[in-house]
């Protein structure tokens, strides 16, 4: 199924797809015009502040084809393969030519370690072309001290943004940037509603969402709304609906395998999918409080949450998406979600959802054998269930 002709025939979608497939194009053009580009690693770096500073946030991503010459020197094997590949581009000088600085949030252990290693590399091997790094050290437990501490943390990052921007970034500018980002999320939610109806495929959704990581927010919003307008008329995909939980999917290759097997991915909880538009900045709060509220009170991530929180979160997300089945898929060395899985599976199956668990997966996904059969098996199981049900 993958990306359909109806989508390819939509000019707005075609633009998004071009940007998704040519991720350096817009950042390079803007840099040439004097706009600073800030790389983001981790899912909790606030776009709003970077945009308020007149800069372009872009997501760091991996190149599956790149040989890991540098990474194999510096990183232990316990780093998951996608982060290893991201690290290669940071350390081998690729990103030194594409971004002006790198913001890293403590969204997972592996990313925290990446920050520590990059900081140490700056110290011991300053000749390496590693971008300047700033770290955002959120608290995740939502205890009483969380709000106060996190406002301090966001203000520290605010200072870094001002340093990069070479000017003061005012509260009003953050407010305006927050409005811009909220509008973007609203557009993406329009898209998501159509996706849940079956009018937009999982692959198409990844393209629509992911393009936003590499372009100006206002333009992205415009294109997403245009796609949503068009997609109302796109045919409904008649396939069992599944929710995807687990590893980030930086491209559509795995979703394509899932959807080629006769399933439809209607939602996900990873950072290259629906989690991006989970919660708005509350514009009634102060700018810093609004950002803390937005980024720290989003739905729980698979990394920084307890098992019970993850069970409830997945139940809510699956219900909201309308999925009848759930695919658990985590890459090798991406272990945390493995501890959630038995409880989540039990809870979902008690609610009548079909599940498929795939762990210790090789990356990129093409390295794995038997995926098509596994997805086809789930599809057959779900179709059987639907027919019987």
């Amino acid at each position: 199924m993958a990306i359909r002709q109806c989508a390819l025939g939509c000019a707005a979608f075609a633009q998004l797809k071009h940007i998704y497939e040519n991720r350096e194009e817009i950042p390079a053009k803007l840099r040439a015009e004097g706009v600073k580009v800030i790389g983001k690693m981790g899912c909790d770096v606030p776009d709003e502040l970077i945009i308020a500073g007149g800069m372009l946030p872009v997501q760091i991503y991996a190149d599956p084809a790149k040989e890991l010459k540098e990474t194999d020197v510096y990183l232990e094997y316990a780093f998951d393969p996608m982060v290893r590949a991201q690290f290669e581009k940071i350390v081998d000088g690729t990103y030194a030519n594409q971004i002006d600085a790198l913001a890293i949030s403590n969204s997972t252990d592996v990313i925290i370690r990446t920050y520590l290693y990059l900081r140490e590399l700056h110290r011991v091997e300053p000749e390496k072309k590693v971008p300047e790094v700033e770290f955002i050290d959120w608290l995740f437990t939502r205890k009483p001290m969380h709000q106060k501490r996190n406002e301090l943390i966001i203000n520290i990052f605010w200072g870094a943004v001002e340093r990069w921007a070479g000017r003061q970034v005012t509260g009003d500018q953050v407010f305006e940037a927050s409005k811009l980002c909220n509008a973007n999320k609203a557009a993406l939610r329009r898209m998501q509603a159509l996706r849940c109806e079956g009018r937009i495929s999982g692959c198409e959704a990844l393209v629509i969402i992911g393009a936003g990581f590499f372009m100006e927010k206002a333009k992205h919003t415009e294109l997403v709304n245009a796609v949503a307008d068009a997609a109302k008329e796109w045919p409904v995909i008649d396939a069992p609906k599944v929710f995807f939980t687990g590893s980030n999917q930086e491209d559509t290759s795995l979703y394509q395998k899932i959807e080629d097997a006769g399933l439809l991915v209607v939602g996900e909880d990873h950072d290259w999918g629906a989690r991006v538009f989970d919660r708005d900045v509350n514009l009634e709060l102060s700018p810093a409080s609004g950002l803390v509220d937005c980024y720290m009170l989003r739905e729980f991530s698979s990394k920084k949450a307890f098992v019970s929180q993850r069970v409830d979160a997945l139940n809510r997300e699956v219900k909201a998406s309308g999925a009848d089945g759930v695919i658990f898929y985590t890459n090798q060395y991406e272990e945390a979600a493995s501890w959630d899985y038995p409880s989540q599976k039990e809870s979902l199956e008690a609610a009548g959802k079909k599940t498929l668990g795939l762990f210790k997966m090789l990356w990129p996904c093409d390295k794995n054998e038997g995926l098509a059969e596994a997805f086809a098996g789930l599809a057959a199981d779900m179709k059987g269930g639907r027919m019987n049900g």
Binding site: V73, Y74, L75, E76, Y77, A78, F79, N106, T108, D109, V110, I112, R113, Y115, L116, Y117, R119, E120, R123, V124, F135, D137, L139, F140, T141, K143, P144, M145, R149, L152, I156, K303, K304, F306, V307, S308, R310, E335, A336, S338, W339, D340, Y341, P342, S343, K345, F359
Partner: protein, 454 residues
């Protein structure tokens, strides 16, 4: 059923038990057993009982007289009792992966064992390690790892215990000489806001514990606990310095690890401080008598990483063949350098904050770990470093490249190998021993010879 019995056979490649020479080591083991038996009685009598991760500020619970067991110590006991194979089978049966987080998942796995508190009808022996872990009512960990809090929550749920987590923050400033700053000048060592946050955490923890247990936190008692810890760790500092200056050393890591680690989890008690003193005095007496752990000591080895709990004899297998002696592990040296906090009365909770927030960083954050290892290698006149990198623990991923490079730049050969500190299924002493043999022959000996020629 055969599969429910404790495995009798030692893992392939394992040698005989490690030879321990110190009375203090035996004394610590005996004390732990008596203490554990008493703890069980207290729990059976209805007292709250806490299970803690090692980086939790246990000083608070000590001051409040809340009995607790530390996860890493208990995992080491389970590993030493060779329960891992059984426990990780139970994890697998319950739908969990059996190849993850062995250090932290051991106690959760044990909680799935229906025989943990039973007696073997044939042998009359307890089936669980030391009769099994008593049922905790509180489980506390820190968010120093994505997996750990999940495992602790599962563990707490399995036991019906209250689950409590303490946040972790990352150092923005990282002065290289933490080991010179931490005892007195911690305001220079840490970002002030990290200390502020940690103090708030401690206040919340105290509030939680007071509400849960009905026991009151008394500052005077807490200060007493902190002073006892300084006393205890002060003896470790003297001991570490004594061993460092002795050629040959009077004791090896086989004696010091157990003597120190067991007492470390009793820190804040009179017994632990006195035991540390007796340990020092016993070793000092050996030195005064001119006794050597390995009389033909030729090469002094440093062990980086967690202890090989399932095969302590491993450390001794290079002594006769090469005169290569493992003289250094973090267990004694951390006591010497990482725990002491002076002028406690000025702000007791901040002093504790200045201890516990650094524990992970000292060991797992470059450059703090690498710089400390260099300083320790120099002080202990080390000839080679054997560095065990765990296979399945992100928390222990600590910049092995930076550590290895930093040490080798200073002239210390480093062998890195992958192993698991708890899971004997992944341990083969012959293979690992072969690696160390080769390392000694091809790098340690030639390196020392070259130094001697200069």
């Amino acid at each position: 059923m055969a599969e429910e019995k404790r495995p009798e056979k030692k893992p392939e490649g394992s040698r005989s038990s490690a030879v321990k020479k110190l009375q203090a080591t035996a004394e610590a083991s005996a004390y732990q057993k008596a203490w554990f038996a008493d703890l069980k009685k207290r729990v059976e009598a209805g007292e709250d009982f806490a299970y803690l991760n090692a980086d939790v500020p246990l000083e608070v619970l000590r001051a409040m007289d809340i009995p607790f067991v530390v996860n890493q110590w208990w995992a080491a006991i389970c590993g030493a009792k060779r329960m891992t194979r059984k426990y990780f089978g139970l994890l697998r049966d319950a739908g969990y992966r059996d190849d993850l987080c062995s250090y932290c998942a051991t106690a959760f796995a044990e909680s799935l064992d229906p025989d943990d508190h039973k007696i073997d009808p044939e042998t009359g022996k307890e089936l669980g390690p030391w009769g099994g872990l008593p049922t905790p009512t509180i489980a506390i960990t820190r968010l120093t790892c994505d997996c750990q809090s999940k495992i602790f929550e599962l563990f707490a749920k399995q036991h019906g215990a209250d689950f409590y987590v303490i946040e972790n923050t990352v150092a923005r400033k990282a002065p290289l000489n933490w080991f010179e700053l931490d005892e007195d000048r911690w305001e220079e060592l840490y970002d002030a806001d990290r200390l502020d946050a940690a103090v708030e955490e401690l206040k919340e923890l105290i509030q939680f514990l007071e509400q849960k247990t009905g026991k009151k936190f008394e500052m005077d008692k807490f200060i007493e606990v902190m002073k006892l810890i300084n006393e205890q760790e002060g003896w470790y500092k003297k001991l570490r310095d004594l061993i460092a200056e002795c050629h040959p050393v009077p004791v090896t890591v086989v004696d010091t690890i157990n003597a120190v680690m067991q007492a470390q989890w009793q820190r804040g008690t009179r017994w632990a401080a006195d035991h540390a003193k007796r340990l020092y005095e016993e070793v000092k007496a050996l030195v005064d008598k001119g006794e050597a752990a390995v009389p033909n000591e030729k090469y002094r080895l440093m062990w980086l990483g967690r202890g090989i709990w399932a095969d302590f004899a491993f450390y001794q297998r290079f002594e006769q063949k090469y005169g290569a002696v493992f003289i250094w592990t973090m267990y004694l040296a951390m006591g010497a350098d990482a725990y002491i906090r002076n002028h406690i009365e000025e702000d007791p909770l901040r002093a504790l904050a200045a201890r516990y927030i650094g524990m992970e960083d000292f060991l797992h954050m470059p450059p703090w770990n690498s710089q400390w290892y260099i300083q320790q290698a120099k002080q202990n006149d080390i000839d080679g470093v054997v560095y065990m990198v765990p296979e399945n623990c992100m928390q222990a991923v600590e910049g092995s490249y930076f550590i290895k490079t930093a040490l080798e730049d200073q002239g210390y050969p480093v062998l890195i190998f992958k192993a698991d500190p708890v899971d004997e299924r992944k341990w083969n002493a012959e293979t690992m021993g072969g690696l160390v043999d080769e390392f000694i022959e091809t790098r340690v000996i030639p390196n020392k010879d070259r130094k001697g020629e200069r």
